[in-house]
């Protein structure tokens, strides 16, 4: 009996801990408030109650006991959202099959990565923790908030954010599967086929279940249900519009291909990632309503990005495509505000347009724009404070707030912010970074790929 009581108590405790997201109260005083959607206001306050923005205005009195941040001379903007990241994950590529819709990065969240804190140091509050690009249809991804300090991976989840899945076109899936394992796809023709075949099978599966579900309500029904299949189940959810596709892509032809495939299967929620040649098919993307998440200026790290231009984001924006700037990289993630600012050099975007690339637009791409992505009453209090205009090259992120809780404070934070210290970690070994830039969508898969050819 006692045992049962303890079990219940433990269950209650676990449930409680699971559901508990820390939400704070704050008053940010006297800053220049960049709302992104409703204009810029000088000498303005932002009041946060229970993790949400409750008031934006002048001379707001601090409620009793509420922490006040003096932002005089500083700039207050929505927390930055990175629509393409692999941070916070213990695994990225399930590179064992061209289709792995059944796996989910949300199962391998790692809240201890210092990378998450470093991103907060760049004003980032929400990231799309994505599966890699080894497979034509990769795994499902998780949208997480940078609540650095929580010790349970579940505590990072942005509860209620729409489901997303990674697709990948071009060199990566063809290299891993056609090149590495001699299975389809080896070419862009094969990639199209793999996706069409998967959607077709999912459609059959969906129809079989619909038929069964309908039949079983009939009196005297004696049939058996179709075999449950998590991969097809997931793909069917894409066809039903319940999962947003985020597709790794570079070349215009392959982008056009997926637009056509999605048209044929009635799939509408489609975001292209990297999409370096998106500018070449911007009118087609706009017409479809597909969105684009791009690098500001990365190019030439592989052949399919050789014909790129840093004007990509501006061309897409001017053609009416909802565009964001992402990082796909732990370093780049630290200065997305600077990456967004480059669109002012390459294409002359306005301040609000440039800021939307890292706030409202990625929020739209993740289906969370009703909750985050701008400073508006009712939205979640994910806020970044900079010491000068965030689009200046000299700016420094000072304070980053997630759900009304200060998660980064440049003036107060310790040098060593590790939550968990690996006892086997060598203290005296430095990691010297390369300098050359490339996408990280093949992390993990490269390793397997290399082993295959005896490269490492």
């Amino acid at each position: 009996m006692k045992k049962i009581f303890y079990s219940f108590a433990l269950l209650a405790l676990v449930t409680f801990a699971h559901a508990q997201v820390e939400r704070g109260n704050l008053l940010i005083k006297n800053g220049t408030v960049l709302t992104v959607t409703k204009g810029t206001f000088e000498n303005t306050d932002v009041l946060v109650k229970d993790g949400k923005i409750t008031q934006i205005g002048k001379n707001i009195a601090a409620p009793a006991g509420v922490k006040v941040i003096d932002a005089t001379g500083q700039f207050v903007m929505p927390g930055i959202i990175d629509a393409h990241s692999h941070a916070g994950l213990d695994a990225i590529n399930e590179a064992t099959s061209p289709v792995t819709a059944e796996v989910f990065t949300g199962d391998v969240l790692n809240p201890f990565q210092v990378t998450l804190y470093r991103a907060l140091g760049g004003g980032v509050t929400t990231i799309h923790a994505m599966h890699g690009s080894a497979n034509a249809i990769g795994g499902q991804c998780e949208t997480i908030k940078l609540r650095y300090g929580v010790k349970d991976g579940d505590g990072l989840r942005m509860e209620g954010a729409p489901r997303t899945i990674k697709f990948a076109l071009g060199e990566n899936p063809t290299r891993v599967h056609g090149g590495g394992s001699s299975i389809v796809p080896r070419t862009r023709m094969g990639v199209e086929f793999v996706i069409r075949e998967s959607f077709s099978k999912a459609k059959e599966y969906m129809e079989a279940w619909d038929k069964y579900n309908k039949a079983k309500t009939q009196k005297g029904f004696r049939g058996t249900p179709p075999a449950y299949n998590l991969r097809l189940e997931t793909l069917a959810e894409i066809l039903k519009g319940n999962i947003i596709i985020h597709c790794h892509s570079y070349r215009a032809d392959e982008i056009n291909m997926l637009l056509n495939v999605c048209k044929d299967f009635g799939v509408k929620r489609l975001v292209f990632q990297h999409v370096n040649e998106g500018f070449k098919v911007a009118p087609e993307l706009a017409k479809f309503g597909a969105m684009a998440s791009v690098f500001a200026d990365w190019w030439a790290y592989k052949f399919e990005v050789y014909y790129s231009t840093a004007y990509n984001a501006a061309i897409l924006t001017r053609n009416g495509v909802v565009t964001s700037i992402n990082s796909d990289d732990a370093e780049l993630m630290r200065h997305l505000y600077h990456e967004a600012a480059k669109t002012q050099k390459y294409g002359n975007l306005s301040d609000d347009e440039a800021l939307a690339l890292i706030t409202l637009n990625p929020a739209k791409q993740l289906g969370i724009d009703a909750r985050v992505g701008s400073l508006e009453v009712g939205k979640e209090a994910d806020i970044a404070i900079f010491n000068s205009h965030p689009l200046s090259s000299y700016t420094i992120p000072m304070i980053t707030v997630v759900d009304g809780v200060v998660r980064f404070d440049r003036e107060k934070d310790a040098d060593d912010v590790r939550i968990y210290v690996d006892p086997t970690q060598a203290v005296d070994i430095a990691t010297i970074q390369g300098g050359e830039q490339e996408d990280h969508c093949m992390d993990g898969a490269e390793d397997a790929f290399g082993k295959l050819f005896g490269l490492n």
Binding site: D297, Y306, R318, E331, H338, S393, I429, A430, I432
Partner: protein, 432 residues
């Protein structure tokens, strides 16, 4: 019929002219850049001043300058003139497509191969070069990478059709000092393996240097006759003599310390330290050794999980504060154009704007021994300058014109051409 042919010919001429208009050529003339705010770097800022560029040189600078007859006058009212920016370490010209080894010429086979010359392999027609130079970066170190001594790096100007036309007057032998750190995330060697590899490399370097010293003695004794064909030794000879700079790449603090000791022990005369990611940890020791550094990339991750998040940004400032002479580098090929932004980050996190500007102009010019030609706007220096509508470290600023060695460089690259073609694509979604 004749008329038809004339018509076709005229059309052909017209078409060829249009093509030419899209791909303008550089122009070499006497230019008078007037009414500009001139950031000389070494002699302050001149308001409403004029810079005369003639015969590839800066022939006059100041507020009261007479314009030579026949000069092409460029009104720079409301604009700024800066010296061309210098990147102290790249693989520009040696790498075209990152993942394709057939387009990479910075990593030859062999552990000690100083005779491999980067200048030979620089591709003047790389698509990456115009992308870089129209952002105001006019001069870069093109450096080989690879094993212990991967070759000889060269300073190049980013305009010209042959390596000779691009050569900017400095070459240095690269030494990758034995590395006790991990080479990025994918380096999965055990700590023990890393240690062993570093020790082995150290032994090798010591024996190579010993051989080079022996070669120098033989060479001196025989007056350069009868020493036989030893290309590696021949390439190291000027380094031993102190006529050529040894560019030592060292990043982990222990490696920097070991490099400083090695330089001292072997009495190496001309040395630059490059990379120095953990320079801030041992800044006083570098300052004491009086060895200049080319630091960077600045936009980089910390080398250790337990280090403060902004250390790579702060590194140049901390080195400078300790008294080290600091130039900057991007260590890239495709995005060397971001050098001004690396400098801006260094400025914001402690180096200061003035020193950050020096770190990409006059300081690298001094370190590479070409400050008589580059790095500031002074009479007699090369006509290598940029004209901008503001601070070139800000992303809002446009670089309006670049001059390299007196050549007015066409302000186009493949990236701007793609912008012109695709901003309003024609046809759009429907062809007719």
């Amino acid at each position: 019929m004749k008329r038809k042919i004339q018509y076709i010919l005229a059309l052909a001429v017209l078409i060829s002219m249009t093509v030419q208009a899209q791909q303008p050529k550089g122009k070499y003339a006497t230019f008078a850049l007037t009414h500009a705010t001139i950031q000389t770097v070494t002699k302050g800022i001149i308001q409403d001043g004029t810079v005369i560029l003639s015969q590839g040189k800066i022939t006059a600078v100041g507020a009261n300058v007479s314009i030579p007859a026949g000069a092409e006058v460029v009104d720079c009212k409301g604009k700024w003139i800066y010296p061309g920016l210098i990147d102290g370490g790249t693989t520009l010209g040696l790498s075209e497509v990152g993942s394709d080894s057939r387009t990479q010429d910075f990593n030859e086979v062999g552990d000690v191969i100083p005779q491999m010359k980067a200048l030979t392999a620089v591709n003047p027609n790389s698509a990456l070069i115009p992308v870089t130079r129209i952002s105001g970066v006019t001069t870069v170190i093109a450096a080989p990478e690879g094993d212990l001594v991967p070759g000889t790096a060269a300073l190049i100007n980013l305009y010209g059709y042959t390596p000779d036309q691009m050569y900017a007057g400095f070459e240095g032998v690269v030494l990758n000092f034995p590395n006790t750190g991990r080479k990025g995330f994918f380096d999965r060697r055990t700590d023990e393996d890393i240690k062993k590899a570093a020790e082995k490399a150290m032994t090798r370097i010591n024996s190579v240097w010993e051989m080079a010293v022996q070669y120098y003695k033989l060479d001196s004794a025989t007056k350069s006759k009868g020493v036989g064909y030893y290309p590696e030794m021949e390439a190291l000879l000027p380094v031993v003599k102190g006529e050529r700079t040894l560019m030592i790449e060292a990043n982990a603090s222990k490696d920097i310390q070991a490099a400083l000791k090695w330089v001292k022990d072997h009495k190496v005369k001309k040395v630059i330290l490059t990379g120095v990611a953990e320079g801030w940890r041992v800044a006083d020791e570098i300052a004491k050794a009086n060895i200049p550094v080319v630091a960077g990339p600045v936009q980089e991750l910390p080398t250790r999980d337990y280090d403060r998040y902004d250390k790579p940004y702060a590194n140049p400032g901390l080195l400078k504060k300790a008294g080290v002479k600091v130039a900057l580098r991007t260590a890239q090929a495709s995005n060397v154009r971001n050098l001004p932004y690396h400098a801006a980050f260094a400025a914001a996190y402690g180096l200061g704007k003035e020193e950050a500007l020096r770190a990409v102009t006059i300081v690298p010019a001094e370190i590479f021994g070409v400050s008589d030609k580059l790095g500031s706007i002074e009479v007699g220096k090369n006509a290598t300058v940029l004209v901008s509508d503001g601070d070139p470290f800000e992303t809002k600023t446009n670089i309006l014109q670049v001059y390299i060695d007196g050549w007015q460089v066409p302000m186009v690259s493949r990236q701007t051409l793609l912008y012109d073609e695709f901003l309003h694509r024609d046809p759009g979604v429907t062809k007719n």
